[in-house]
Symmetry: C2
Subunit: 193 residues, 2 copies
């Protein structure tokens, strides 16, 4: 039996693990990974994702996927958005909460954008997944980015407090990957063997 | 008499006006401008500036200068930094103040980075100017970016309340341009005529 094989260009072990797990559910797609230094643009989440995936496909010379995560505060009209990793790094979990002290709402949404590019020179296709929630004081293991301060709407647990299965049922990453998985099932990947 | 002529790649009329004014003081450098759509990177202020100027010189095919402004909050370890324009756009003057409500200090510094690239393929040279101050409720004309909420250390006026001369004596942009001016006085610009 042939299985599809696709390269995920990422240096983030946690994202790779989640992606492999979600994409392995029900479809024979094997994911390998490559860690490349790709400069990220400023701009909308879509612009950031398109530029990164386009460049990744050029660099590895074949089809690939890339992922971008944004954490968007309602009070900030969507910021920090694609810049969340810089804020997480500089401010930590407590700082992310402190950012919102002067604003009337802690509502936020997590946005995952997977991009698929069929090869060098091709225009990437985007798959977005969004989960609404709010920013709360950190609870749960603090190891995966801002998971400990994001509580999805309708739940009393943060992402970090959820089991893998609970999180993957409703996460922004799952929702984006579910769309990517459906797309990949319909198309030939040049790298299939 | 020959005069040096240099292209400032910018779409910001206010920055162009300040730059022309400051560079015209005592040196025969004529500045023209060109407004190009150059994607900006995420990264340090230096990385952002180098990439933009390198690309600008490639696009116009000759020597040029570019400018990047960052507004750095001490409480955020330097952020929003190069992302300030997105925060200014989404949050406005009041929002920039509100960001700091949950933090112990409103101290900030304004950082201007001019980059000079002698032509396509050449590595740009950076000229940084920094002015320390703090974030305050807006005072003065609200027309030039975040000038109305930045009060330089040792002054009781915001940038926006200062006369052109007062601001240009101490501003981050003046300090960077002063270094650039000194450098340009020592070198041949390929575009001199």
């Amino acid at each position: 039996m042939t299985s599809k094989r696709l390269t995920f260009v990422t240096g983030n072990a946690n994202k790779l693990k989640e992606t492999k797990y979600i994409l392995s559910q029900g479809t024979p797609i094997e994911i390998d990974s490559q860690d490349l230094e790709i400069p990220e643009l400023q701009g909308t989440t879509q612009e950031v994702a398109l530029a990164k995936c386009r460049r990744a496909a050029e660099l590895i010379g074949k089809a690939c996927i890339t992922e971008d995560t944004a954490l968007c505060f309602k009070a900030f009209n969507g910021l920090p958005g694609p810049y969340i990793k810089h804020f997480m790094k500089n401010l930590g979990h407590e700082g992310l909460n402190n950012l919102l002290v002067g604003f009337p709402t802690t509502e936020a949404w997590a946005l995952c954008t997977f991009a698929y590019c069929s090869g060098p020179g091709a225009e990437p296709i985007l798959f977005e997944g969004r989960t609404d929630g709010s920013i709360v004081p950190a609870r749960g293991p603090p190891t995966f980015g801002w998971d400990a301060v994001f509580q999805p709407e309708g739940f009393d647990k943060t992402y970090a407090e959820m089991t893998k299965e609970e999180k993957n049922d409703i996460s922004h990453r799952f929702r984006a990957l579910d769309k990517l998985r459906a797309y990949l099932a319909t198309c030939d990947i040049a790298d299939t063997y």
